[in-house]
């Protein structure tokens, strides 16, 4: 059970009584998970079985996150699979993935909790009507006040609490993966709001008290950042830091193979070589893995067996998202294509 230090809880509000079954289930789950996270190799294999091809660093980060109970801050260019990692880990461990998308102006009422105002107002009205019954027989003000106190304060209680992603993740008794996506898009204030959650796995709600995660099943937290701004040191300090760069050719080939298995081998090698060459050019937005995969799918739809200039020219808009990039690449297209084809 959660160790809520809720000072003015009314007794009726404590959670449902299926504690025993839950904890049994919990033990089984946790051993299963521990097995899957036992070694770095096991993690790599597990992720690979879900078609997420990780490298040693990625697996090490997941490994440490589990064993040290620390959140992971994932940085890297867009489209290298930062969000995908969190989702894959959730799938691997068979856990719920709670996602919080960050944006400018995100605040605690959208990230942690909100009161159900309508119900609260109704409650006060109901209370007003039944006030007479409660105070029946009380003499004088002090006695009435004493009676009121006995009645218990439900106005600020979990009953009227609308949990948002962070609180949901914390209250999940079986553990879950919490994905805080694009944390760099949020404001500085929000970062400080996260600190309590990230270091102690607890959240303070002033009216109720501190809510803590189940100590046996702390949520596995992943934060992603696109580096649009520098994340504060305080936040970085509490996290493991994983940087995912663009993959090298071998890894990318493996990824394409895992994600689009039907692509013929020759084409796969060629298109990966082509994309790798593109990344060396001075482009406004270089193609990421997600674009490589999209391209592979496109070429598969077109039933092509190998790359040629016309094919590349026609499908260039799948991997390049700016007109000026497309124009820049078109000039060098013959050279790039030849290089990619020759490589194998």
């Amino acid at each position: 059970m959660p160790s809520h230090n809720a000072p003015f809880f009314s007794p009726g509000l404590i959670r449902e009584p299926n504690i025993i079954t839950k904890s049994h289930q919990g033990v089984r789950l946790s051993t299963q998970r521990a097995e899957k996270l036992a070694t770095v190799e096991a993690i790599s294999e597990g992720l690979a079985s879900l078609n997420y091809i990780s490298n040693l660093k990625i697996s090490t980060a997941v490994f440490l996150a589990h064993h040290l109970d620390k959140p992971v801050l994932i940085e890297g260019p867009p489209g290298v699979g930062k969000t995908e990692l969190a989702k894959s880990v959730a799938a691997l461990l068979n856990m719920e993935c709670v996602r919080l998308q960050c944006y400018e102006g995100l605040d605690e009422s959208k990230a942690i909790y909100e009161w159900k105002y309508g119900k609260q107002l109704l409650y006060t009205q109901v209370l007003k009507e039944t006030l007479g019954e409660i105070l029946e027989g009380a003499k004088g003000l002090s006695e009435s006040v004493a009676k009121l106190h006995e009645f218990g304060d439900v106005f600020f209680s979990e009953e009227f609490l609308e949990p948002r992603p962070l609180l949901k993740a914390l209250k999940n008794q079986e553990g879950c993966v919490l994905l805080i996506d694009e944390v760099d898009k949020s404001d500085y204030e929000f970062e400080s709001l996260l600190l309590e959650m990230l270091s102690d796995y607890q959240l303070s709600i002033p009216e109720i008290g501190t809510i803590q995660a189940n100590p046996d099943h702390k949520p596995l937290v992943f934060l992603t950042s696109n580096n649009t701004r520098e994340i504060s040191d305080a936040l970085k300090r509490r996290c493991l830091h994983l940087y995912i760069p663009f993959p090298d050719a071998d890894l990318e080939t493996a990824i394409v193979h895992a994600r689009v298995p039907d692509v013929p081998m020759q084409l796969r090698d060629q298109l990966v070589a082509f994309v790798q060459a593109l990344r060396d050019l001075d482009l406004k937005k270089v193609p990421a893995i997600s674009e490589t995969i999209d391209w592979a799918k496109t070429l598969l739809l077109l039933h092509s067996e190998s790359l040629d200039q016309d094919l590349v020219r026609q499908t260039l808009n799948v991997i390049l998202k700016f007109q000026e990039d497309i124009e820049a690449v078109e000039a060098e297209l013959p050279m790039l294509t030849n290089k990619a084809i020759k490589r194998d």
Binding site: D107, E230, H241, L242
Partner: protein, 493 residues
Amino acid sequence: MEKTLVDFVKVLRTAEVQVSPAETLDAMSALPIVGYEDRTLFKNALSILLSKNPEEKEAFDTCFDRFFTAEDLQSLSDAGDFFDPSQFDDEGSEGFDESSEQKQSGGDRSQRGQGGGGGGGASEEAEAQSDDAFDDSMQPASALGQLLLNGSRSEQMVALAEAGREAEVNQIVVFTQKGLYTRKIMEAMGLKGLQEEISELQQAGGQPRLGLAGRLKRARDLLRDQVRDYVERQFLLHADEHGKQLREELLKKVKLSNLEKRNFKDVQEIVFKMAKKLIAIHSKRRKTYRRGQIDIRKTLRKNMQYDGNLFDLRWKSSKVDRPKVMCICDCSGSVSNYSRFLLMFLYSLAEIIPKVRSFAFSSDLGEVTDIFQRSNLEDAMAKTMRDYGNGSTDYGQMLMDFKRRCMDDVNNKTTIIILGDARNNYGDPKSEILREMYEKSKRVIWLNPEPRSNWTVGDAEMKKYAPNCHQTEVCNSLTHLERVVANLLKYTV
């Protein structure tokens, strides 16, 4: 192992990887989980735990490779907790893997740890003895000689580390000092006595004496190699980065116009660093705004005392007051360097002052905002200098152009920065236009690279311009520049 880790963290910090004590503790707690048998795993784990951005990761990689050589980790895992190199050498374990001899004697290390020098220097002696048959009746007289021939390797290392400390080798700054420190350490270890003894032995002649002299000589040369390696290590660990820091400190103070092209890269790095610091300080400031969304929670709380009737409303939105900065830079020969770095600074701050409009002039004024937004800093700078860099300065023309083109855009939130030496070639200063700008804008700041005493000498018009500015500053080094920009942020953000 813990001590070695702490030493490693120390080295990381000199290499500008910011490692907090909490992170060090995290790394410690990770050690039992990852172990150090698997070097890649160990490295990846530490990298994830200690370095927190791509630049730091790069620095981390070099430091790691330098600090933990393959043999080091091997010996650490061989000997485990039993043998802790740092108990002999508080500079870290770096002194322990250089000579080939170590590998030979690696096996009996644990034995030595127990027996205190029992099998010490075995390989050395064995080598020497093979030459001199059974002639070890002759013992060296000098302290260093005794240490070299009879002392254990750990004793030698202790002596070496102590001598190193005495010579203050961790103060080493530039690579030319390597020889100096090698000699200092050798001397501190008693080289003089050894030399005298060798020459005495040689002069005296005779088989046992000459044999001893030969052994001592060999030991001495071996020691010299070791000391040199040791100093080299110390240099790489301590000085390489210290040297960089020293250079940065100097560059911050040097006059910007005296900078040479080869320093530009360093300076740019410093500017980015400064800008980052300023962003961290100033980006949090926001004004609460009495409009926008209602904060229902606060409102309910506030109005409970009024029987739940909501009449005292609370607002939740806060407003970021984004300042507008217009920057007018003189791009003529003498001042162009200053303009370069001011612009660099302002555009590095894009996160907190997104609306910078910049103008360049030597005689005619032109807006360069677009160039800076479209291309990277260096290209933009080069283009600006090419397009506006030539011609004699004409401040009057500049002010007239400014009035014609963008006086309408100036409002009470605009800060105008003018950078120039106000040397107008005896033309009409048109200070009345500056007056107009002064009245319309929030602040007019004039930055002048020349010292204040020169502001009124010759064709300088500062006397006429200064009263029409809110602030005039001498600005000729990065430190000045930083101060000016920090002030700017204080007033505008």
